[in-house]
Symmetry: C3
Subunit: 231 residues, 3 copies
């Protein structure tokens, strides 16, 4: 619980006891780094080559990460080196973010979710708990992703060719959705809970099922939503 802050780190925020901040990491003003977090964890290659045996040596291996101002990084989060959290990002407990991930201003990522490689999360996106986003996933602005949604990046695993999933701005992805590698989800599209998405979804379409097929559109979804909210 004593924690560790690298001499190379620049912390202007509030860092609790028990946090580990490695490398030339930067923590912005009014940001809260909770107990039992790690910021700037070294990538796999460095871990294998560098053979660390202490936090000092782990620190030396780390290039650090950048956490903006007004962020919250809750307990149990592990943020790799070369990650950028823009201002106002909020993380739940136990979030894992691998090297190269970028989370834009005001986005939230829920407890237990993993950004497993170079993942981009757009402004004010709302990623719920236990969501898995692998290397190359791109999530647009103000996208909502329900809990237990799992994106993939390999059509014929395990292969050497990883392909991205791109989720357009304002899309809504329900809980427990599986999205296959290479799929593009258009802006404003809606994916019903439990769907398996195997091909591209056009903008503003509502798809459902396994495999997911168009059954309605965003306009009707919003109509039903208004009735539901006022009901």
């Amino acid at each position: 619980m004593l924690g560790y802050i690298s001499t190379r780190a620049k912390c202007r925020g509030r860092v609790s006891q028990g946090a580990v901040i490695l490398g030339a990491s930067e923590v912005g003003e009014n940001t809260y780094i909770d107990v039992n977090t790690i910021i700037g964890y070294p990538s796999r290659d460095k871990l294998l080559l560098g053979k660390p045996s202490s936090l000092n040596q782990l620190d030396e291996l780390s290039a650090g990460s950048r956490v903006g101002s007004n962020c919250i990084v809750r307990s149990g989060c592990v943020i790799y080196e070369d990650v950028e959290l823009d201002d106002g990002v909020e993380l739940g407990h136990g979030v894992l973010m691998r090297r190269g991930s970028r989370v834009a201003r005001g986005a939230r990522v829920g407890s237990g979710s993993q950004l497993d490689g170079e993942v981009y999360i757009g402004e004010e996106a709302n990623v719920q708990s236990m969501v898995y986003l692998p290397h190359l996933t791109r999530v647009g602005k103000r996208v909502f992703i329900g809990p237990y949604t799992c994106v993939t990046n390999d059509r014929y695993p395990p292969s050497r060719k990883l392909v991205s999933v791109e989720i357009g701005d304002e899309a809504v992805i329900g809980a427990g959705v599986i999205i296959l590698a290479g799929v593009r989800i258009g802006s404003g599209a809606v994916i019903a809970a439990g769907s398996i998405v195997v091909r591209d979804v056009a903008p503003e379409q509502l798809v459902m099922g396994a495999p997911a097929r168009t059954v309605s559109d965003r306009e009707k979804f919003e109509e039903k939503k208004r009735a539901y909210e006022s009901g």
Copy 2:
């Protein structure tokens, strides 16, 4: 690993090194609080307003939680303030319970599961690993919930209207089930693994599929179970 115990806390149980107990939390007799746990974590509003920068300040913000006697809270659990664990509750590793959750006597919650808001778990319920129960979920007595089951609370996410899922006493929910917001599952009902439950399930019915439909009933399930157990 030094841990922290609030001066306001009343601990009659066994608290390991590395546990963090905040606010006026109570820990009952013969209860074991493991390493790397947090009891009484402050709610989001307090974290945003209170701007803590240390365990002392986190402690000051916390209203504490109540853990009964003869409980086990394993490593990595994060229990928010205003949570009640009744006597004999047992948690796996890394369980997250948000503010307002209540777990009744003798219930178990498996590793990595999340009670993400005001969730009620009935007596002797058995919630397996990696189960997600959002705000407002109510789970009856002696209910079984298999791993990876995901309950939702918003029919048209993200909306401002959250609705509860209620699971009746003695119901059996298989692994990897998705239950949509607002659904009532009758007492004694059985939900087959991998089902997507989009509408209410009558008591004692066995449902299966996506969307889940009645295919059998509890009596036949119990008959098959007896044959299976003796086979």
Copy 3:
């Protein structure tokens, strides 16, 4: 963060600060044990009977575990007593392995995955993030298991009869697959993402859907894979 190393433990590898190593555990040469890990965690029976209240007492209860040489055990992992990790095993963050699990040489287990009982993972198997493998699961050599796949071990839960799932060598299991208790998956079989596998799968078959049915075979999968990789 001070960690704890049992006087009974034999550590030839590199153990970071904040690691907890209990009982007569062995850590091989050139193995890295990360911060916030626990090796040799006592089983449930011992925890209930032994009533530990400190790391010293937890240590006394533990029979220890064996971690081979050239392994990586990343932060947040909890390895129970009587677990064996063979040489060259690599674990992600927050992996949970219960008593009696065995992981063979060169296998990898991804972040957040659980081996929840006596589970066997074969040589060079590749288990991705957030995979759930319950008591009695056997995974063959060089098997690939995608993220969020959930294996079960009870056909009529909760019963007193647990049955194994066996996954043959070289099988490929996609993301978000559910495999029911008692199922045998033949060597070289391929299970498409999101499938629910309710009966045995013959070797070299490709199955898909809910319930999963044969739709192709491994040879055609490999043909498509070659085209995909060169495309």
